[in-house]
Symmetry: C2
Subunit: 450 residues, 2 copies
């Protein structure tokens, strides 16, 4: 089975060619019984052979996955991968490219580092910045906060074995709470403003109360730069002030919203982002790469190295040199594919201007759609549009009405909008990350709600 | 940049076709300065275009990554991905297939679950077993031990916020110590036998001493089924007895060695593996899939679901049903590509007999090579060969001699064997996971050491 098989390769590349050159329609999965039925018997003693396996791959496996890169998917923060990034991932896959140690993956690691350095410069993280691509924001947040705890304890050696606390807003992504549980930390949940944004004053008051009550010491603030639900940005500049005053680590979850840093208006919304100690931004969300690719950035990458290098606990007193750059040393992973290379490739091929334009175009589309929602007498804007998420309601509808409407339009292959809620209010939520989403697409959404 | 570009796709698929149909030679990376120099300017405002980007991808990025699937890579536990698994990964990449929630990735998730169910059956984990593919054994071990802690605390509610301890052998993989640090756990390191194997009696004594000294309570034993260094297997059956007596979770890191469960002789070496609560085995190691793919298996997958479901803390009182199967609920991740599908595809195409034969053939090659080392008057076997790792020394050589020899043969593109050490003794370590490694290849290794 390790022999090369031209026929198998021809079949697989035909599937890949089709996928890379067509816009696939929206589709919902068949029932579980149907899918498992179609795949029954696929694992057998003798094997089903290349032809049948490729058929199952195309007609069952692929056909029952949603095409999340379709420009009419607005739910769950979709993907808008460029064909170039997917083509690069195809090349990576064919090469079985590993990206853990320099000795084995130097070429891919160098390309990743060039893309990371560009992101660090765009954010403004300074001369010791660097990072690593991880599989998603959850392991990114986990790694950043694990490094943060180690750093904080090095400054507070009396707390080396004590339970500690992470402060964040109620509206922080669910992953922060899960990550805190894995880290065995408490979470200090702070009420945000009317749209859930964490404000510096509220945080300072909460920190003082926590301390007065004898809570486990806080070591980090986990801020959000673009909440998943309403697309809101915490008061990053104010939180940076608090972090400085209290000696805390400021981490920003910019999984979705961090990409806006490339544009002038996005930069304003993210004011203060250049003062974080760490952040995540997912190229597989709004930076046009395929799954799974999260950029984890550190202001001082040497702190991460000290936390995660598996072979040596000590921190070398020298700068991290390129020929010792092992991505395994900067997050909770070890073996990894060179998952940042497709992002580098697409960015290289298309250029940074195209990236800025694409992000800007989504912001402009969101503003235009916001105006259209406000102009529609049957709809009400729910929250102000900060980035490219637009939330609104149809007065008179309950959650079930929204859900039926959403299910129907997904089933019809028109568009996919998830029903969400905020503090008990059901709402519709449109997340715009695909530059090919048209005003006509969005007018269709508005019209369908009459 | 989101338009489809036939020319770009043609260029990328030509690279993929070449990669999927040729055995590439071993190669070492150029210097960091050379690689970064060649990639300088790749990120520009206007973009370098498809042709130049594909050239950089092929001639710089790809050419400076080691071909770890070459049958003459014996170091670091290499890869032996089948062309079928890489071709499937090419298809996955072209589809931008997501694998986090059933609604979006049903087809891929169903295929993954069929492969996981087969692995669970092979191990013998029982009726409630299940799992998820994660990116590697480090996040797999982290997730298993996080679930373990949650389970143990549910049985010992007086310790809900207390620091706890993981017990493992000195020879456990470095990732266990890093994972413990992220989990904020202590590690009880137990001396193994002469080759580092953790024995039940030694563990029981260490646990009693730890308790007598008032150490943080132990909740889990992290055993190793195939150490990275010598390929040794802890006394899994004995450890399972201790775990039962003490009410502990038994986890097995079978990242490398777990694959041996497919064969009769491997099964003997892994006696007791069917009694673990959780284990990892990496298809990207000895199950012939590309990077990055680790199967994380739980005896009772509902415990994992309770630990990682990000939206609900409670455990539903019903069986996990296929149409609610969200892989994001079973480990520390959320967004993920359908990384197990290439393993399923290759297994489906070739059949389970071919997999058993391929693993068995590596075991047979290891036994034959062991005999050849023993017969060579200039070499000495270091440790008994348990699985497919063979360790030996050349009496008279110091670490520097081994390193020069290793570097030279890698530079010449002949083979790659890493220099290792055990308790201060330098040694050579040959890890055999590619069924195409020939007796002649290995004779070349022996001859080169005269």
């Amino acid at each position: 089975m390790h022999d090369h098989d031209q026929h198998l390769v021809n079949l697989a590349l035909a599937v890949a060619r089709h996928e890379l050159t067509t816009v696939k329609p929206l589709r919902s999965p068949a029932s579980a019984a149907t899918i498992y039925g179609a795949l029954a018997g696929s694992i057998s003693a003798a094997g089903i052979g290349a032809e049948e396996a490729v058929e199952l791959m195309r007609d069952v496996v692929g056909a029952n996955c949603m095409n999340v890169s379709n420009p009419n998917v607005y739910a769950f923060i979709p993907s808008a991968a460029t064909p170039a990034s997917l083509a690069a991932d195809v090349m990576i896959a064919s090469m079985n490219m590993i990206g853990d140690w320099w000795l084995e993956g130097a070429g891919g690691i160098a390309a990743e580092n060039i893309a990371l350095a560009w992101l660090c410069r765009e954010v403004g993280l300074g001369d010791h910045a660097g990072g690593v691509f991880v599989s998603g924001a959850t392991p990114g947040n986990l790694s950043a906060l694990a490094a943060a705890r180690r750093w904080w304890r090095s400054e507070h050696r009396e707390h080396t074995r004590d339970r500690l606390t992470i402060a964040c807003a109620q509206q922080a992504h669910s992953s922060v709470r899960m990550v805190a549980s894995v880290l065995d930390c408490d979470v200090l949940l702070v009420d945000g403003d009317e749209f859930g944004r964490l404000r510096a004053h509220d945080l300072a008051v909460a920190l003082a109360a926590h301390r007065a009550q004898g809570g486990a010491p806080v070591f980090a603030i986990s801020a959000t730069a673009g909440t998943t639900n309403l697309g809101m940005v915490d008061d990053l500049a104010g939180l940076a002030d608090v972090a400085e005053q209290e000696g805390l680590w400021l981490h920003a979850d910019g999984a979705y919203g961090g990409a806006a840093v490339l544009t002038v208006t996005g930069r304003e919304a993210l004011a203060g982002i250049d003062r974080v100690q760490s952040m995540v931004v997912d190229p597989h969300k709004w930076l046009f790469a395929g799954y799974d690719c999260c950029a984890l950035l550190y202001r001082d990458v040497r702190i991460a190295r000290a936390a995660f290098t598996q072979t040596a606990e000590y921190l070398e007193a020298v700068e991290v040199s390129a020929d010792q750059w092992n991505p395994s040393d900067y997050a909770v992973h070890l073996t990894r594919r060179a998952r940042g290379v497709p992002f580098w490739f697409s960015l290289a091929a298309h250029g940074t201007d195209a990236y800025r334009d694409a992000v800007d175009s989504c912001l402009a589309t969101a503003r235009a759609f916001t105006a259209a929602v406000q102009a529609a007498s049957h709809l009400e804007l729910f929250a102000p549009t900060t980035l490219s998420i637009v939330t609104f309601t149809r007065p008179g509808w309950a959650r079930d009405d929204y859900q039926r409407w959403s299910d129907q339009h997904l089933a019809d292959g028109e568009f996919f909008i998830a029903v969400s809620e905020f503090r008990g209010h059901p709402l519709l939520r449109v997340c715009l990350v695909h530059p090919h989403t048209t005003p006509a697409d969005l007018q269709q959404v508005i019209d369908s709600l009459v």
